[in-house]
Amino acid sequence: MRADLIKKPSQMSTKRIIKFEKDDCNPCNMVSEYLDRKGIVYETINPFNQPELAMQFRVRSVPTVILLEQEQELSRVIGFKPEELSALLAS
């Protein structure tokens, strides 16, 4: 119990998930649904509104979910692929 309480904020401070998406994009919505159902906190970015970020992360299409630790990329999933997403969340 106590360990959990300590773990969570530390995880939050070093790891984060960002998701590149756009409106009217079905696979993007499916990824969001998947993440929401698991209660995952993530940041959404529309690459057409923030192309500099898309460039920085070399995003080529949406949806792209990227797991970061201390701003270093650990893994990414392109498109709606539940197995890969669950692997990303487990890492």
Binding site: D24, C25, N26, M55, S61
Partner: protein
Amino acid sequence: MVTKKWILLNNEIMVKNDDEFSLGKDKDAVRSYFLDYVNKNTVFFYTLKEKIDYLIEQEYYIDFYQWYTFEQMQEVYDMVYAKKFRFQSFMSAFKFFQSYALRDDSGEKFLERYEDRVVAVSLFLARGDVKQAREYAEMLINQEYQPATPTFLNSGKKRSGELVSCFLDEIGDNLNGIGYAIDSAMKLSSIGGGVSFNLSKIRARGESIKDVEGRAGGVLPIMKILEDTFSYANQLGQRPGAGAVYLNVFHTDIEEFLDCKKINVDEKVRIKSLSIGVVVPDKFMELAEKDEACYLFHPHTVLKQYGKYLDEMDMDEMYEELVTNPAVKKKKVNARHLMVKIAQTQKESGYPYLFFKGNANRSHALKDIGNVKFSNLCTEIMQISDVSDIEIYGTEDKIRYGISCNLGSLNIATVMDNKRIREAVKTAMRSLTIVSDITNIAMVPSVQKANKELHSVGLGAMNLHGFLAKNFIMYESKEALDFCNVFFMMVNFYSLQSSMEIARERKETFVGFKASEYANGNYFTQYIAKDIVPVNEKIAALFEGVEIPTAADWTQLMNDVKEHGIFHAYRLAIAPNQSTSYIMNATASVMPVVDVIEVREYGDSTTYYPMPYLNNDNYFFYKSAYDMDQKNVLRLISVIQKHVDQGISTILHTNTKDTTRDIAKYYIYAHKMGLKSLYYTRTRKAGIDECVSCSV
């Protein structure tokens, strides 16, 4: 079905490796298109001399020897070929060879490459001046400037159409006037012209003829005749004629004018191929904004009361007077409902265009000479016009101004890269002037008179979005506004300076110069008070090494203009460009792109056109116009508009979820921001299969 190799290569663009499109494949497609198709189908000549002589003897080219020796021509050809021009995308090459390259009479073999077309245009427009020909050729082969299609296609050819293709005229409210319009429509259409007419002076349906009430047929029957006229005179069946008609929003026929574009309307009143535009005075926008009643007027009763056409009145001044005058017949509607009806018609058909008369005239440099009353097929031409009095045989007609315009576009990306804004603008102005000089539309005297006396041209620009994306600047950003403000100020400066220099050389100004805002200096007010310079660092870097005209330079120019006058009554207008932007590897006009990779169907094959300068890094800088806040687009256009004496073809991109109310809000915003017109409204159909950037 044998699918062509170059098409297959082009289609491989869409194959994704590591989540990246194979954009490099397009270059392979261009190579294959040349090796496997163009080269095999090009007539081979052993020497340049043999080629030139053949083309002249076989009556493909005019006799260039009347102006140049062979050595002089060779000099221009050598310079152009030495540039080693390569098409940047398959679509550019395909468009050129499909629509522009000269073919033999069988239509099967090519007689020209891109380089040859560039030289032919240059030799033709330079009229024997080799130095000038070299300047034209350098600008064209650098792809810094592109003449409008009729000029690029027809220059130098022995058997060809006209160099200009954009005409406008008024229609007088009598049978002679209407007959003159129909006659003009037929003749101009037969030479490939797009013609726009102002119907606003025509009496409304149900008005009196010779004081017998209820006899007039209104504007719709004239539209029907014009539509048939354009489709009849169709350039030997090669291309359908194109026409547009404008009507003042205060004309009582306005509702049926709009209804003619509805899909579910009776065939008898439906207008299919004729484009329509609405003339919108400020007063109407004011009534709509205040949600007030709006009176429509029977124009003939107005003319009888005041001796002046409704269309020529300042409605801010006259509206209340017309409302209270019982002798003026009128109809009451709700202004906002009428505006929503316009939006509804646009949602259904893309039409009507809107012409904001107040904005077009407020900054009009010839305001003391006359008003701008309507616009053309692409809503970028804004010039004075005046209705001619056409009389019966034996009585002399009083011919007044129609409008003739010849256009061309700068390629923003190449002139910026080559740091040749000044050179390109000035050379482009020279070439447009020559086109105006050698154009003589004698068959329509009002158009001929305008061209002879006003020498109007319309220099525009393309590749704005391509240039911005290439430099990692977002179309909707503040940086883009900053860039446009400086760039178009410079275009304005050099075009004006060029016009002044031409007037000085020829000792001739356009007719009426002395009464213009150029002569009294008012035109220069926004420029002489303070310098226009890039505010943003990133933009300043783009202009590094380029001399930007200062307020002092503008003051000098003002004085030079006062002394020598200018040659052109109108200089700048930004056209929509279609085919020409493909050839130039440019995004069309100053509009945002619609797709990152455009999909086009040609016959039995699908081809892909990646936007100019697209690579896997700058991909998201090509945001679709449909995904943009239209207010950001309108804001950018309003900045450009400040430096453009005529208009800018501005397309609204909306989605199915946008309501007519949303569209009406864009009208109000566009009007407030000083835009002079709105061209089509396009609506994107909702669908998931169109998402090129989505990964499934």
